[in-house]
Amino acid sequence: MFGEGILKGLAETARNFFGSFVSAERLTTVEYPEQRIAPFEAARVFPFLVYDGEDPLAGLRCVACQICEKECPPQCIFIVKSSDKKPDFVGKPQNYPVRFEIDISVCMSCQICVEVCPFDAIKMNTEFELSTGDRFGGLLLNLDQLVKPNEYYHRIHPAGAAEVDARLAGEKAKAEEKAKAAAEAARAAAEAAQAKAASEAAAANTTGEAGAAKTTEGVGAAKAAEETGVAKAATGEAEAKAASDAAKAAAEVASQKQPDQEGRR
């Protein structure tokens, strides 16, 4: 029959039309803004900077290495590096960004800045309701608008944030172990130095009597030496060390006294 194809087509259309009242598969729209679909975890809109803890500037992960600025394809990131340093999450002093601006009218959400950041400092936000009336200034996000806490990152991207936290915790643990090992090595070196001092003091005991009057000073100097050396020595060793140190200290004090008095004047 002529027209059969058209009728079959109309039957399909009718099935879709009536089906959209009963089946969720066929009705695929959501009444935005009264209803909203939660964004996907991996969704990328525009970048933001992560900070750990309470203070956005003290806990900022970004060290202004400017790798993201160089790799950004449309060159929409502008960073000015600080001249001083602040400690990062492992305690190492790092630079920080004095100015960090992203022009989101240029940003194409490619996520290359996130990929190349070695410090997990910049991540992608999922917020897209960013319309503003100011065409130029309103679309230039500065540091205050870009920093968000790590808890926010956990909220929008739980799996990724957990992985980053685990990795950073691992790095911190490694750094602490390294510091401990360095401290142990320093302590062992100090103990070796003390043993050497003891043998020297035995030989220098005769000359030590000349500095006996300044033993108190020597003890003070020895205590200071202990603090810097991190090691606690036995009293006998301390005395021997104090004797040899006192001999050295006396000579130093004698040579330094004149400039001190001049300085105080």
């Binding site: 022009d103 009336g133 100011d134 130029f136 200034g137 309103g138």
Partner: protein, 250 residues
Amino acid sequence: MKTVEEIRAAIEAAVAGAGVEVVPNPSPSGQHSLRIEPGHAVEVARFLRDDAELALDFLSNVTGVDWLDREIEETLPVTRTVTKLVDGAEQTVEEMVEETVKRFEPGFLEAVYHLYSVARKHGPVVLRMRTVNRTDQVELPSLTPIWRSAEFQEREVFDLYGIVFTGHPDLRRLLMWPGFKNHPMRRDYVEPDDFEYEPTAHDRVLERALAHQSAAELAAAEQAVSGGAAASPAEAVAQPEARQGTEAGA
């Protein structure tokens, strides 16, 4: 499919006087090219298309490449006559000395053709043609009569590089508008700076935009933007007109 050397031999056997040279490709892709002289290019192309064994009936891609003038410094061993002491007596001897020589290689434009065969399902065969220089002798023969797919692509190469294809049925600009001057894809092309001042442009873009604006215009533009954030929508609409007013007046 034959190797590049065999194809070269076949071309030279079929087309008398065709100067064909193999240009090796050092990358792992192994796609070596054949450089053909413009004089016999159309006959070579016809042979490649109609030969029953090669049957390169499908021209996939036409590209233009710009090779700039280069100055090459080379350290070469050179024979020089020097006067030196030999066995206590001064003599003029010929010696090999290392000298740094500067060589000037003039630039040229190049058209690269990638050919495949639909009939035999092999390829690619890469052809290259070079112009004499980059300035006044930039003609090359068009291969559009052989492969129609070159029509738009050669127009694009003409538009963006400036190679004039003689024998092309309709050589006009393709992507740029008809009154455009200059050829944008050349390596020494300088973009024009006459773009509008935008307050958030930084660095290079800002410098070049500033060069086109007077101080008065800039102050007015800054005012408009910084004042506009707090202004009512009506004023915001009026501001572009105000800016244009100051530009026209300045």
